[in-house]
């Protein structure tokens, strides 16, 4: 069973040992006590599948609770402790404005104000040597100051603690002796990487949600046990692996953004079943669209992301968090994104969203600004009486009127063409974001298979794909609960990235091997708690660059001790990747390694091979619907199908709409759809457009 608690809905999925989905459900999230909504979903899928708790062999849980606590500022009263002389690591940061022309910008709120920033004497250098002993005599006074400030949790970040954690450990012991209830997060445990600002921010974020998450997880575990669950619960992490409740309670920052990670895991799984090595995962919901790249069946990962941005979609405006995450770009383009016209007469969409409340104008819940969903309604892509299984009344006229007033009248277009303009802009925004993301990773987007899901993904997939140069799209089954389905394919895993400077030409192999072995056994101990007997896999990487550069390239290392004979191969691997990204290698340069990563994971569930049905033929529609063709901008009829009525091997020529309870797939005029054995829809761009 997988339970994904989102901001609006809780998705629950029950799957059998052969990876067949038995039941899915969406229940409203209960923000006060999220466990209540989760229990409701769990009961419902068990009932629908006719199963009992005794049949459930595992429960995987992902939640936005940690994310929301950070966004809504519902965490603990946190203090920071840094070395004497460095009280302002947080205030100074990177000394940078995130927006070039914005005179009146505000910096992000980094949780700990200067009044709760404390310091302590003692200094470790970059090589991990003690230059000045920890000022142990000052700890009593420090503890008193913390108590005076009403501090509940403390983030300790001492310089170069990744190279030598002795002072951090000693300080924790001394503080805990003074104040046993104080929750302490240590920077070298949360994020053992160099760069004090990033590490301090990560440690603060961890400390901030730690008391809340520890309480929540204990309660969740207890209630599900009371309900009848007999197996341990595993928590989904941002890195796309699972971990135990114990680890999650200690390092709750790793739970942030775990929901979207589930979507990428699902896409990776489907990529593997379909044998597709280069995939673009496209998850478009109500508020945002998330895109991520999948290489060789593995979602691309990153070591840093941002939370609590001052400007939600502006890079650099937030608080950096350095943990292993599935890398994705999130932009303000969802069904609820609001359309407007700017001072220069340019159509703009998002990043502001009408969300689910008040929502699109057509939903009649008080929204008065036209959204992307209103545009899709005006274009005819949403069938009003089938939307959300007919439970929601769609007011087409209100959507048209709002499009005319806010967009059309201002630039001389009728309502439908205003909707067309809105669609063009938002789809271009998503395609650009995808291309940009690929470029930043040194990848190309054009040859990829797009796997589209989320409430609006199947509806916009062809439009985004066309602009991004993508020719093939796959819409999986149950695209509306993609993230929760993804949880069920995640391994138990843990990843540690740690700084240790070395150059390839004079690598101290013995010392590095000892260092990697220690890191590895630390990760393995954590994984073993959640996967006691499964065979384990290891992945080791080095983050390398030419001496003098600022950007590192992840290079895979052998999953064993390094040997002298490996060094040439590592140089080759680095330069191969370098040449791929930047066209040519730079001769005669030293290569340096800044960080080392180790991830340990359990084996993943067996794959279902995908085969395609022999029979093939065009399905015939019993209904058609008038749409504005997104290729030509002219009105024409589109065939209308129920997804449930299509069989493996069926083909559908565009333009067509394939409707299912949670979403609609638009087969544009320049695409053709085919259903495979697993029930997925494959969309392919037709070479010569016949429209």
């Amino acid at each position: 069973m997988a339970i994904d608690i989102g901001g609006t809905f809780t998705d629950t999925v029950l799957m059998d040992g052969a990876a067949q989905i038995l039941a899915t459900t969406k229940t409203p999230t209960t923000p006060e006590q999220p466990t209540i909504g989760a229990l409701e979903g769990a009961r419902r899928v068990l009932r629908d599948a006719g199963a009992a708790w005794s049949n459930v062999v595992g429960l995987i849980h992902g939640t936005t609770l940690a994310t929301n606590a950070l966004i809504e500022r519902r965490g603990a009263e946190v203090a920071a402790i840094t070395p004497q002389g460095f009280r302002d690591i947080l205030e100074i940061g990177y000394e940078r404005r995130y927006s070039q022309y914005a005179i009146n910008l505000a910096k992000p709120d980094l949780i700990v104000p200067r009044t709760r920033s404390f310091t302590i004497g003692g200094r470790i250098d970059a090589q991990g040597r003690e230059r000045e002993p920890l000022a142990e005599d000052d700890v009593k006074a420090l503890s008193a100051s913390l108590a005076d400030a009403g501090v509940e949790a403390v983030a300790i970040c001492l310089l170069h603690a990744y190279a030598n954690p002795a002072h951090e450990l000693r300080l924790r012991d001394l503080l805990s002796a003074e104040a046993p209830d104080l929750v302490v997060s240590l920077s070298h445990e949360v994020s053992p990487e160099a760069r004090e600002f990033d590490r301090l921010c990560t440690t603060i974020a961890n400390a901030y949600v730690q008391p809340l998450m520890a309480g929540y997880l204990a309660d969740f575990e207890q209630r599900f046990a009371g309900e009848g669950l007999q197996r341990p619960i595993l928590m989904m992490t941002a890195g796309g692996g699972m971990t135990t409740i114990e680890t999650a309670s200690r390092l709750p920052i790793r739970l942030v953004e775990s929901g979207p990670a589930g979507g990428a895991i699902l896409a990776a799984r489907i990529a593997q079943e379909a044998g597709e090595r280069q995939v673009l995962s496209f998850d478009m919901g109500g508020t945002t669209a998330k895109l991520s790249l999948i290489e060789d069946f593995r979602p691309q990962t990153a070591r840093k992301f941002e939370i609590s941005r001052a400007e939600r979609f502006i890079k650099g405006s937030g608080m950096p968090v350095r943990i292993p995450v599935i890398e994705m770009i999130e932009i303000g383009a969802g069904g609820g994104s609001i359309a407007s016209v700017d001072r220069l007469g340019r159509v703009r969409v998002g990043p502001h969203s009408a969300g689910s409340e008040p929502g699109p104008v057509a939903f009649g819940k008080g929204g008065d600004q036209p959204t992307v969903t209103d545009a899709d309604i005006a274009l005819g892509f949403i069938v009003p009486d089938r939307f959300a299984e007919g439970r929601l009344e769609i007011d087409v006229d209100a959507a048209m009127a709002a499009l005319l007033e806010s967009v059309g009248d201002r630039i001389g277009l009728d309502a439908v063409h205003a909707g067309f303009a809105v669609s063009e802009i938002v789809d271009e925004n998503m395609a650009s974001a995808g291309r940009m993301h690929a470029v930043e990773s040194g990848k190309d987007i054009g040859e990829r298979l797009m796997i589209a899901f989320g409430g609006n993904g199947p509806l916009h997939a062809t439009r985004v794909a066309r602009r991004a140069g993508v020719r093939r799209i796959l819409i999986p089954r149950d695209p509306g609960v993609g993230s929760a389905v993804g949880f069920l394919f995640a391994p138990v895993s843990f990843e540690i990235v740690q700084s240790r400077y070395a150059t390839l030409e004079d690598l101290d192999i013995g010392a590095i091997n000892r260092f990697l072995a220690e890191t590895c056994s630390a990760a393995e101990a954590i994984v073993r708690m959640g996967a006691p007997s499964s065979p384990l896999r290891q992945r080791r990487v080095g983050f390398m660059r030419y001496h003098g550069q600022g950007h590192e390239i992840e290079t895979e290392l052998p999953a064993r001790d390094l040997r002298v004979s490996d060094i040439d191969g590592l140089r080759d691997a680095f330069e191969r990747e370098y040449a791929r990204q930047f066209r040519r290698v730079v001769p005669g340069m030293r290569i340096e390694i800044l960080n080392w990563g180790v991830s340990v994971s359990s084996a993943e569930p067996e794959l279902n091979a995908r085969s395609n049905a022999d029979r093939a033929g065009f399905a015939t529609a019993s209904e058609t619907r008038r749409i504005l063709c997104d290729v030509t901008g002219r009105r024409r009829d589109a065939d209308l199908f129920d997804r449930a009525g299509l069989r493996a091997g069926d083909r559908v020529a565009g333009p067509a709409l394939i409707v299912e309870p949670q979403t609609t797939t638009l087969v544009s005029a320049d695409f053709e759809a085919r259903i495979d054995d697993a029930g997925s829809i494959w969309l392919s761009r037709v070479e010569e457009e016949t429209a």
Binding site: E95, T115, S432, Q549, R584
Partner: protein, 549 residues
């Protein structure tokens, strides 16, 4: 707006995305520290006439305008009919490219269906061009290193190996220079490739209609913003530290119905040291500052830049002529925003911030010459620190934050990992933010020393030691910058070389920003918060704000 206009807008958005992609690729492949830390690059797309259609928004505004003009100049040097697909042109002439020899400009003609349709261009800062190196000590441009006049670097895809060898042979950082030139080539090629693919996708054969749309829409938007301002001429004089004696910068800002004229007449003559500023660079920073307030929502292109015109008498320090030395043109160039804000503030007092630290406090550092023969560690650091920005009319200034430049500060841990130096302090300077209804941003205090028994060389080129950031409308000045070495009697001047001996400690204090409005009007609650946070001491609160507590 018609359906055609929507398509044009989509293509415009695409061009903006393409130049950002180009810019990112260049930064990631860069070797020069100032590029990778600070994004000191530029990337743009131009139409067949050389009009700039889109430019990446990157770390430093020093390339705004300079690139728009540079491509026109470079394009005019070579007959269009001799250009072929795969050619790339190059120069680092400070008066064509971007104000000093380190900035290399590459321009590539783009062909679609066999016809020239436009250009891509990019600029990047190369670490070393020989001469006396990074510093103001050169007495003319020849002292400052290698100047490459406009030339063809790549001929139908074939790199001119001799040119690359010349650039390498004249540099202390030959490998880095070569790497950076390759990064620039890749950037031009990537932009051209994407432009061609866009034209193919949208089925257009030339950029004419798109170009007209972008330039006209932007010009109109900018003129609309200008026409909302009162007409007239406003003047300001800014006193700056100069090299060894203070000098004056003058500006007259004239606002007309459809354009703005900025004239630097009256500014000091060029100096004999490399702090002189070519006009293209002075214009880049001053137009950037004006555009932050007048129509900041319009992207940079030929249309939005056209209504801003900048003039200065030849030979004045903001219009240095060859062979004046210009290596450290950024120190005074970055002061021009405060110069023009002094004019603009008289027109729109509630839109313009007080003066700030403005000039970035970079701290280039190197091993001493003897280290090589002694076998001591060799290193080169290019640390960047910043002071406080000026108080904004409604908001306090930002502490230790870059403006007008967009550089990133350095991290202690990564710095200590690559060089034998150690920091003892990096904290905000209490009371350094100018008092006012809104307070100036605070400067910072950095203390550092060599870890081993070794001297280090420091190359200084900073401003606002003798002339702190002034407040506006009754706001008080921010604290000046200050540079000291422990155990020495006198402060160190802001420009020149400095040898920090083993055992000595360098104390490097960056300036605070000026305050805005009468300090007595400061919200007592915010003053109390500043005192509690230790940003303002109780004594200063009494002295500057008249606080009773």
């Amino acid at each position: 707006m018609t359906k055609t206009d929507t398509r044009l807008q989509v293509m415009w958005d695409r061009l903006l995305a393409v130049v950002e992609e180009q810019g990112q690729a260049l930064i990631r492949a860069a070797f020069s520290p100032i590029v990778r830390e600070c994004g000191d690059i530029s990337a743009g797309i131009f139409d067949v006439e050389g009009r700039m259609l889109a430019q990446a928004v990157t770390g430093t505004p020093g390339h705004i305008n300079t690139m728009a003009e540079a491509v026109k100049t470079l394009r005019a040097r070579f007959p269009l009919e001799e250009m072929t697909s795969g050619d790339i042109y190059m120069t680092n002439d400070p008066w064509i490219a971007s104000g000093h020899l380190n900035d290399f400009l590459l321009m590539m003609p783009v062909f679609f269906q066999g016809r020239l349709v436009g250009f891509t261009a990019c600029t990047s800062h190369l670490a070393d061009l020989g001469g006396l190196g990074m510093g103001p000590e050169g007495s003319d441009i020849y002292d400052e290193g290698l100047l490459i006049p406009p030339c063809k670097l790549v001929d139908e895809g074939e790199v001119n190996a001799l040119l690359v060898e010349i650039v390498k042979a004249n540099s202390r950082e030959p490998i880095g220079n070569e790497g950076d030139i390759y990064a620039l080539i890749a950037c031009c090629e990537a932009g051209a490739d994407r432009l061609v693919r866009m034209m193919d996708e949208f089925g257009i054969r030339d950029l004419n209609a798109l170009s007209e749309h972008i330039v006209e829409t932007s010009r109109r938007g900018t003129i609309d913003a200008i026409s909302a301002l009162p007409k007239g001429t406003w003047r300001n004089v800014l006193k700056v530290d100069g090299y060894d004696a203070e000098i004056e910068l003058h500006a007259a800002l004239t606002i007309e119905d459809d354009h703005i004229l900025l004239d630097f007449e009256g500014s000091a003559e060029c100096l004999s040291k490399g702090v002189n500023v070519p006009l293209n660079y002075a214009a880049a920073y001053s137009v950037f500052a004006l555009r932050c307030i007048i129509g900041p929502d319009t992207p940079n292109n030929a249309g939005s830049l056209e209504p801003f015109r900048v003039t200065a008498p030849k030979g004045c320090i903001l219009n240095a002529q060859s062979p004046s030395p210009v290596a450290m043109r950024h120190a005074l160039g970055q002061m021009t925003p405060d110069l023009v804000y002094g004019c603009l503030s008289q027109v729109a007092p509630e839109l313009v911030p007080a003066e700030g630290a403005s000039c970035m406090y970079d701290l280039p550092m190197r091993h001493v010459a003897e280290a090589v023969e002694r076998g001591d560690p060799q290193f080169a650091l290019e640390l960047v620190f910043n002071g406080g920005t000026g108080a904004r009319p409604q908001l306090d200034g930002l502490s230790a934050t870059a403006f007008p430049s967009g550089v990133w500060g350095s991290q202690i841990e990564t710095t200590e990992a690559v060089a034998p130096v150690m920091f003892d302090r990096r904290e905000l300077r209490p009371d350094s933010g100018g008092a006012g209804r809104t307070r100036g941003g605070l400067g910072q205090r950095i203390e550092m020393r060599a870890v081993d028994d070794q001297d280090v060389m420091v190359f200084l080129s900073v401003e606002r030691i003798r002339n702190p950031a002034k407040g506006r409308l009754g706001g008080l000045a921010g604290a000046p910058g200050r540079i000291r070495v422990t155990g020495r009697d006198h402060d160190v001047p802001g420009k020149g070389e400095l040898r920090v001996k083993a055992g000595e400690r360098l104390i490097f204090e960056t300036p605070g920003g000026g305050g805005f409005g009468d300090p007595k009007e400061r919200d007592p609650e915010r003053l109390a918060q500043d005192i509690e946070a230790g940003l303002v001491t109780p004594q200063a609160a009494k002295r500057d704000y008249g606080s009773q507590s």
